[in-house]
Structures are given as C-alpha cells and as structure tokens.
Amino acid sequence: METLSVEGEHKNVKNSYQFTHKHILGIEQLSVADIFHILDTAISFKEISNRPIKKVPTLKGKTIINFFFEPSTRTRLSFEIAAKRMSADTFNIAASTSSATKGETLIDTARNLQAMNPDIIIIRHGSSGAPGLLARHVGASIINAGDGTHEHPSQALLDMMTVREHKGNIEGLKVAIVGDIAHSRVAHSDILGFTKLGAEVRVAGPATFMVPGLDKLGAHVCGSVAEAVTDADVVMALRIQKERQDDPLIPSLREYSQFYGINHDLLQKYARPDALIMHPGPINRGVEMNPDVADGQGSVILEQVTNGVAVRMALLYLVMGQEGSRGES
C-alpha cells in the first residue's frame, strides 16, 4: 500500500475539499485538510497587505465585533487590521474579565450583541471554553482569540504558516517549545497543530511549568532545554508571566533565564544551524530569550506578526463561507 505524506494527502484531497467550520474555537476541531486550506488561503491573502491600497471588498457590509475580556494589543490590532483590509465594519469592546463584577453574564452580554446582528464575534476571554459557550448561544461565527489556558488557534496557524514558508513542509520537522507550557494557550494550540501536520514537538521547562497529559496532546516532554533543542528546526520561547503571586512556579526570572533562557551558545551547540527562532510576543528580553537571539539570524518573530494579519484575514473569510468570491479587488 502506498503511504502518503501529510502534505501529499492534503494535495490529493484538495479538489473535493470544502471548509465547513462556522466557528474557529481551537486547533483541536480542525483537520489536517482544514489547516492546509487555511494556510493556503492566508498565503493568497498575504499579498494584499503589500499593495499600495491595502483593501479588498470581500467582507464589505459584514459586521465584526472584537470582544476582548483581557488586555491585548497585538492580537486585537491584528484582527482589526485583517477585518479592515477585507472592508468589514469592525467594533471593539473591552470588557471586564469577571462577569460577576459586571452583574451581567457572558451569555447575557452575548445575546445583547447578537441582537445587533453581527456576522463574526472575535473573543478573547480569561476562562477556558468561553468561546464555545458563546458559540452555543449566538448565531454569529465565533473566532477564539485566546481563551484561558486552553487555545489560541490563530496564533498557532500563523506559527505554522511562518514555518511552512521557510521550510516548505512541516512534516518531519523538530519543533522545540520552551517555557511555561502549563499556562500557555499558544503552546497548547501549537502542540496540536504542529503534531497534526506531522512535526515532532518537544516541550521543555521546569516541572512547575508542565501539566499531566502533555504527551497525550502529542508533545514529547524533555528533561532539559538542551534535549528539546537538539537538532531542532524550530525553537520557540514563550513569554514568562512576571506576576504570579498565588503559585510559586519559579524562584526568580534571573534563575529562569540562566537555566531555561534561549541564548546564542545553546543554539550554536545543539540546534540545527538553520533553525528558526520564534516567539509569540511580547518578549521579555534577557529572560526567556536573549536579545542577540531575538534579533539574530534565524529569527522570524516579526514575520510571525506579519503572517498573523494574513491568517486572520483567511479565518474571517473562511468562516463567512465566501469561497468562490475570492480574487475580487
């Protein structure tokens, strides 16, 4: 029997494929074909951002609400730029995280938004599962822009897009993710996404940054950063949360950077020479990643940000079911 690579399978099914997701709640719900389709769509949209007039009428007349319960600069801006480049009308709502303090539940708020008939609600929320709750109670498409410690699908998609642009293929790559895996929705989505596309995902950090069952998600939990980074094609560091009073996860940032920070010597010694350096941002320079690495050879951190707009354009376009009307300009 002929064995097909993941990419090969993707090409085989391409003709009969249809994107059917109304919501983007997580990478978990996406098939390999879905992911490739999103990435292919994103690549085709990327060029729009380089035009002198960065606007296509594709989502003209569509109403998109950015509903952010947690502070966010880049993700919110990225979604907003993506929506505006597609000519959608966008509105931003920043809300307090705790529905109890507002005196209105998330469902109530959502129903009120729904009454104004938006087409897409992009939600970031501190509670894992909040986007799914919203999806069950409103008619609009829901896009998860990060929920608790659960998922951040658009981030993982832009990571995959960036790696694919550089490496051509994700299957067989060794991807190292270093940092607070337990509390990172980015890591969670990246583990699911990269392993779906056939990469080997290694995670590393102190045991306080690990949770049970990471192996079941598909990750290989490494005992040291050196082990994770050995022969790695991609090295990603996660932002270390400076403020965490209730749970003593690490003794100090100083010690963390010494044992788990990504620096030039480590990469030189263990990683492949052409390894890509990634970070979901914002970077604590000198903590999880040294400046010479962040700004150095192999760093694609700013490309991640650029691709973020393209991926989000693709998501907005695909959940609206606009297939076939692409190419209008």
């Binding site: 978990e28 705790s98 529905s99 109890a100 539940t105 998330l106 469902i107 929320h125 509670s127 894992s128 599962g129 909040a130 799914g132 709750l133 929920d147 608790g148 410690t149 659960h150 998922e151 929705r185 969670h188 949770v211 049970p212 069952g213 990471l214 079941k216 998600l217 209730d246 749970d247």
Partner: protein, 427 residues
C-alpha cells in the same frame, strides 16, 4: 400525600440488611410503625400488591444541601424533600452551608419546624463545626444537639486549622455528635475546576490533584486516632483516599466514609466540552479512581452512598466553566445508579440497602434502616425493572444541574412511605 391508619404491602421481596432477611412476604405499617401481619386487613387500610418489587427500609441520604434558609431560589425544604421522596428517600441529613449558616440552635429549629410542616421526608440538620463555618472557634454543639442536629461539619469548606478539627472531634464526642469532614487541602486544590489530569490539560482548566483529598483524609484519620472519636469522611472521590480509609478501618480507628453515585458512575471525561453540570467538588476523577470507589463499595471501605445533592440555578451554572458553581443534584438518580451496581454484580441487593439506608441510620444514630417489627414505618418500594428517561421535566428538585440528564435509567422507587404517610407513589 395520604395518611391512613395502616398500610399493607403484599407479595413483595422484603430486604432488610439489619436482620439479614431476604424473603417474599407482606409488610404491615400501623400508626406509623412496622407491625406483625394480622389475620384480617382493617377497613381503612391502604393495600398494595407489590409483586416483583422490593420492600426495603426507607432510604436515607446523609449528605444533601437543601439551601433553606437563604437560597430558596435554588431549593427549599419543601422541594428538596419532594425530590427525596420521589427518589425513594424517607430521610435526608442537610448540610449547614445555608444563609445564615446552621451554626446555632435557632437555625436548626427553623429547619426542623419547616420540615415538619412542609417536608416530604425526615430532615436531620447537620450543624456547623465552626461559627459561621469560618474556621475559627467551635459552634455551640450542646445546643445544636438539643435542638436536633445529628452531626457537625463545615461542608463546602474544609477545616483548615488542625487544632480546631481536633477540638471539634473531642467536643463533639462529649455531645455524642458525629464529625463529618469535607476533606480538601485548599492550598493544593487552588480553586481548580476539575480533576488534574489529561482532560484538564486538554481543556485548559486548572486541576485539583487527588492528593488534595488524600492529604486531608489522612489528617482526619490521624486526628480520629488521636481523639478516639468517630469521624465520617464525606464524598470520597479518589483511590488514594479510599486506600487510607481501608487502612484506618483495619487498624480499628473509628472512621466511616461515604461516596456518591457520580464518583462510581462517571469520570473526568464527563466534563468534556465544559459541561458545568459535571462540575463538583471534589471533582470527577479517573477511571482508576472510579474502579477503586466501586471496589470500596464492595469490600466495605465505604459505609454509605450519599448524593451530595447540591442544587444550583442557571445563574450559577450557565457560566464560563471556571466561574460556574460546584455541585450537582442527586436525589432523583441515586437509586437507579446504585441499582446499576447491583446489576453489574459489584454489590448485592442487601448490601445496596445497607449502603443507602441501614448504615446511614446507624452512623447518624437516627430511626429507620430496618424492617424489624416495632421500627419506624419508613419504607421504600422499589421496582428494579422500571425504566425511565431522566428528563428536566421529571425533576422535582428546583435544581436541574445533573450530568445524568436524558440518561435512560433503570430502577425506580414506586412507593415511598414515611412514618405511615405516603410521600410518593407511582402505584
């Protein structure tokens, strides 16, 4: 609800763990008491033919939350005991985490008077261990006991201070009150939403490790040994805690324990897709834990099946998972789920009745738990074959927060008699 002079149940299967009786026969209740069969049936008697049904001592749920006083929108003594009667229970012990907390005689008396007036089951109030369940200073156990409390607990919360727990056991012993422990090491559980494990990682929810229960169960056992007083461990969910209790019992320490239908029926997988009706504390655990709980029911580690019936309204449950309240209802599903244990061969019929009636009566030192002549006329008739779909519309509790919603269940209480009064009938 009917009160008649006598009730005669004919041709049933009589099951009494106290006397070891398992025979086909009749049961007579007269003036609220179980009496020997007479030659002729008096004219004003209610007679039921209960062929192919079981006649068991009225079921007793030693761990429920009736929410009254203070949270009547979630449950009242009236609605909660109606749910109890429908589930085959003739008595319930209600936890003190009401508003105000049942930490004094006046609240205990309120509950007892309300139950006498509006209740469809006997209600045994459980008082607080500490004033306001705040974890400092003992509540007035002497007065609580005189008012009718049968035990003390700060349930909903653990007693963090070990010295306070020691004193509670000693002082409760002097008043012949049982101490009930909600065993949770809160610096470990950290307001987690579900069991810590593969599923919590997949869902991105903060987990509660099994160790949070085991650590506190071990402390209670050590204190029970130190004080020599009887101590009851509530709602055990883990294999680890089950092991500790079995060891303590083997050493002769005066500890008893209960578990719930949800721990022997469900696992953490029930939480999948953020179902807040599967959120409770302690949380649903792993399959290995579930198996250990079933084993503990079989080998005598557990003395009782209780429900931890915890009604909430949609206000507390239609929320983000981590912000939703802990707790599920249980009174109307407990019997069917326990009967499934019998069908699965985990326990036999007499053992089930022991776990759901005789043992709770013995541990709480209350009436019932036997069909012996002269015993209180609290009797449940069970149709072990009757199938029903547990729909929202069927639920008598004000809370609809059940993970068993729309399950097809087998086995139902078809007649519940409390002190000679019919509190529920499907005959």
């Amino acid at each position: 609800m009917t009160t008649v002079k006598s009730i005669v149940l004919q041709n049933g299967r009589l099951l009494d763990p106290v006397t070891g009786v398992d025979v086909k026969g009749d049961l007579w209740i007269e003036d609220g008491v179980i009496v020997p069969a007479r030659e002729t049936i008096p004219d004003d008697s209610l007679v039921f033919d209960v062929q192919n049904k079981w006649i068991v001592p009225g079921l007793i749920d030693m761990h429920v939350h009736l929410r009254e006083p203070g949270e009547e929108y979630k449950e009242t003594i009236k609605s909660g005991t109606m749910a109890a009667a429908a589930g085959g229970f003739t008595a319930v012990a209600c936890m003190p985490n009401t508003i105000p907390v049942n930490d004094c005689a006046s609240v205990t008396r309120f509950i007892i008077e309300k139950a006498a007036k509006e209740g469809s089951a006997r209600v045994y109030p459980v008082g607080a261990i500490s004033k306001g369940s705040k974890g400092t200073g003992l509540a007035e156990y002497g007065e609580l006991k005189e008012a009718g409390a049968v035990a003390v607990t700060d349930d909903g919360l653990p007693v963090f201070d070990s010295q306070l727990m020691r004193r509670a056991m000693e002082y409760a012993g002097s008043h012949d009150l049982l101490v009930v422990s909600h065993s949770e090491e809160m610096s470990l559980s950290q307001n987690g939403s579900m069991n810590e494990g593969v599923v919590s990682t997949r869902l991105g929810l903060r987990g509660i490790p099994a160790a949070a229960e085991a650590i506190m169960v071990y402390r209670e056992i050590a204190l029970a040994e130190l004080t020599g007083q009887r101590t009851h461990i509530a709602h055990v969910s883990t294999a680890a805690a089950s092991d500790l209790i079995a060891q303590a019992k083997a050493k002769g320490i005066r500890v008893t324990a209960e578990t719930t239908p949800h721990y022997f029926t469900l696992t953490e997988e029930a939480v999948a897709d953020y179902n807040t009706s599967a959120k409770m504390n302690p949380p649903l655990r792993t399959e290995a834990d579930r198996q250990a709980i079933r084993e503990g029911l079989q080998n005598g580690t557990f003395d009782a099946i209780a429900t931890d019936h915890a009604p909430h309204s949609v206000l507390e449950k239609e929320l983000e998972f981590d912000q939703a309240a802990y707790g599920i209802i249980g009174l109307e599903t407990s019997l069917a789920l326990s009967l499934a244990l019998v069908r699965d061969g985990v326990i036999d019929e007499l053992r089930m009745v022991e776990l759901m009636s005789s043992a709770p009566a013995r541990i709480l030192k209350v009436a019932g738990g036997t069909l012996a002549e002269g015993a209180v006329g609290d009797v449940t008739v069970i149709d072990p074959e009757k199938k029903f779909v547990f729909t929202k519309e069927l639920i008598l509790s004000k809370g609809k927060n059940s993970p068993f919603l729309d399950w097809e269940l087998q086995g139902k209480a078809v007649l519940t008699v409390m002190g000679g009064r019919i509190t529920h009938t499907e005959l």
